[in-house]
Symmetry: none
C-alpha cells in the first residue's frame, strides 16, 4: 500500500476513512446482534433490521476500500499531478457505483425501521408503504443510471447526468412526504419515546440524506472527488450507525411498557 509520500495526503486520508467506516459497520453489526435481547419484544425485529443494514454496509465498504487501494497502487506509478487527478476522478465513477448497490438494499430497510416505531400493522399502511419503498428503489436505480453517464474515458457527461439526477429526485421527494403523512395519521399510537425516535430518524431523510444528491451534483464540477468519498463515509455513519443507535435506545427505553 502506498503512503502520502508517493500519492499525496488527501488520498491517504480518504483511504483511512473508508477502512474506518468498514470497521465501524463491523462494530455496528456485532452490537445490533448482541443487544437484541435488551430491547422490548416489539423492537426485536428493529434490531434485526439494524443487523442486516450493518452487514450489507460492512461488505460494501470492504469492496470500496479494496478497489480504492488498488487505485492507490496505480496512482503511485504516475508522476504527473494532472494525471493523478484524472485517475482519481475517473476511478471515482467505478468505485462509487458500489455505494448504490448497498443503498438499493439498505435505504428501504432504513425506511422500514423508521415506520416500525409507529406501532402500525404493516397491512394497515400497505399502499403508502409500498409507494414509498418503490419510490426509494426508483431513486437509487435512476441515480445509478445517472452515475453511469460517462464517456469512454470515464469523463462525466454533465447534461445526461443532471437529467437522471432530476428524475431520481422525484422519487426522493416522495419519501419525506410519506413519512410525514404517516406521522400525522398514526403518531398518537406510539409511546412518547417512540415518537421522539421516529421524529429524529425521519428528519435525517431531509437532512443527512441530502448530502448524497449534493455529492452527486458536485461530480459534474472540477472538484477533488476524494472529498466526496470522505463526506459520504461520514454521512453513511450518521445515517446507518447513528440511526441504529437511536433505534436501540428507544427500543430499550420502552422495555418497561412491553410489548
Amino acid at each position: 500500500i502506498p503512503t502520502a509520500g508517493v500519492v499525496g495526503l488527501l488520498p491517504m486520508v480518504t483511504y483511512f476513512f473508508l477502512v474506518v467506516a468498514m470497521y465501524a459497520f463491523l462494530g455496528n453489526f456485532l452490537f445490533a446482534l448482541l443487544s437484541r435481547t435488551s430491547v422490548s419484544p416489539k423492537h426485536k425485529s428493529t434490531q434485526a433490521l439494524t443487523t442486516i443494514i450493518a452487514a450489507v454496509a460492512g461488505i460494501s465498504y470492504f469492496l470500496i476500500q479494496s478497489y480504492y487501494r488498488d487505485m492507490l497502487a496505480e496512482l503511485a506509478t504516475l508522476a504527473d499531478a494532472d494525471n493523478r487527478q484524472t485517475l482519481m476522478r475517473e476511478s471515482y465513477n467505478a468505485i462509487g457505483q458500489y455505494r448504490y448497490m448497498d443503498w438499493a438494499v439498505t435505504t428501504p430497510l432504513l425506511l422500514l425501521k423508521m415506520v416500525s416505531f409507529l406501532r402500525v400493522k404493516l397491512h394497515e399502511i400497505k399502499r403508502p408503504l409500498a409507494i414509498m419503498l418503490l419510490a426509494d428503489f426508483f431513486m437509487i436505480l435512476t441515480g445509478y443510471i445517472g452515475e453511469q453517464q460517462v464517456g469512454f474515458d470515464n469523463e462525466v457527461l454533465a447534461g445526461p447526468k443532471l437529467i437522471w439526477g432530476a428524475v431520481s429526485t422525484v422519487g426522493y421527494i416522495i419519501i419525506p412526504f410519506t413519512l410525514y403523512k404517516l406521522w400525522k395519521q398514526y403518531a398518537d399510537r406510539a409511546l412518547p419515546k417512540e415518537q421522539q425516535a421516529y421524529r429524529l430518524m425521519a428528519l435525517t431523510t431531509v437532512t443527512f440524506w441530502g448530502v448524497y444528491p449534493i455529492g452527486y451534483i458536485l461530480t459534474v464540477f472540477a472538484i477533488d472527488t476524494n472529498w466526496i468519498h470522505i463526506t459520504f463515509s461520514i454521512a453513511d455513519l450518521i445515517n446507518k450507525v447513528g440511526v441504529g443507535l437511536v433505534a436501540y435506545w428507544a427500543g430499550r427505553e420502552t422495555v418497561k411498557y412491553a410489548p
Copy 2:
C-alpha cells in the same frame, strides 16, 4: 471495474442487479436466522428452510456477480460492438449455469417449505412428496444438460437445447399437479392463515417459476442476454425472499394457536 462509458449501460445495470440480489439474500439469511423465535414452534423448521435457501442463493449470487465482473473487464478490452455482443452471449452460458446448481438444492427446499404449511406428517405423503421432489430434481438436471447444448465457441445449439427443455418440462408439470392434489386432500387440517400462505406460495410455481423456462427458450433467439439476467434476478428475489416473507408472516400469525 469498468463503467458504462466503456462497456455500455445495460451490462452495468445487470451488474447492479446481480450485486443487489446478493445483498438481498444476505439480508434474507440474517432475517430468517434472527426471527426464528418469533414464529410458532411448528414453523421453526420452516424458518430453518428459509435460512438455508437464502444462504445457498447468496453464495450463488456471489459467484455469478464475480464471474460477471470478470466478463465486464474482458468486455472493456473489445472495441467492436458485435464482438461485445458475442462475448456477452457466449459468457451467458458459462455464467448462467451457476443458477442451476443453486436451483438443484433450493427448489426442493422451497417445495418442502410449502408443504410444511399443510400440517401433514411427511410419512403420510411419502409417495407424492418423493415423486414431486424427484420430478423437480429431474427438471433442473435435464435443464442444466439442455443449457450445456452449445458448440465449441459457446454458440447455442437450438435444436438439442429445445428438446432437453421439453424433457425438463415433463418434470415441471408434475410439481403444480402434486401441490394441488395435496391441497385438496389436506387443506382442511391447516389453519386459515396457513391455507392462505400455502395457496399463495403454491401459486408461484405456476406464475413466477414460469419466468425461468421462458428465459431458457429466449436464449435460442438473438436476444440481449442481459435482460434474462435482470429478469431472473428479480424472479429469484420474488420466489425466494418474497416466499420467505410470506412464510414468516404466516408463521408469526399462528403463534397464538401454538404449536
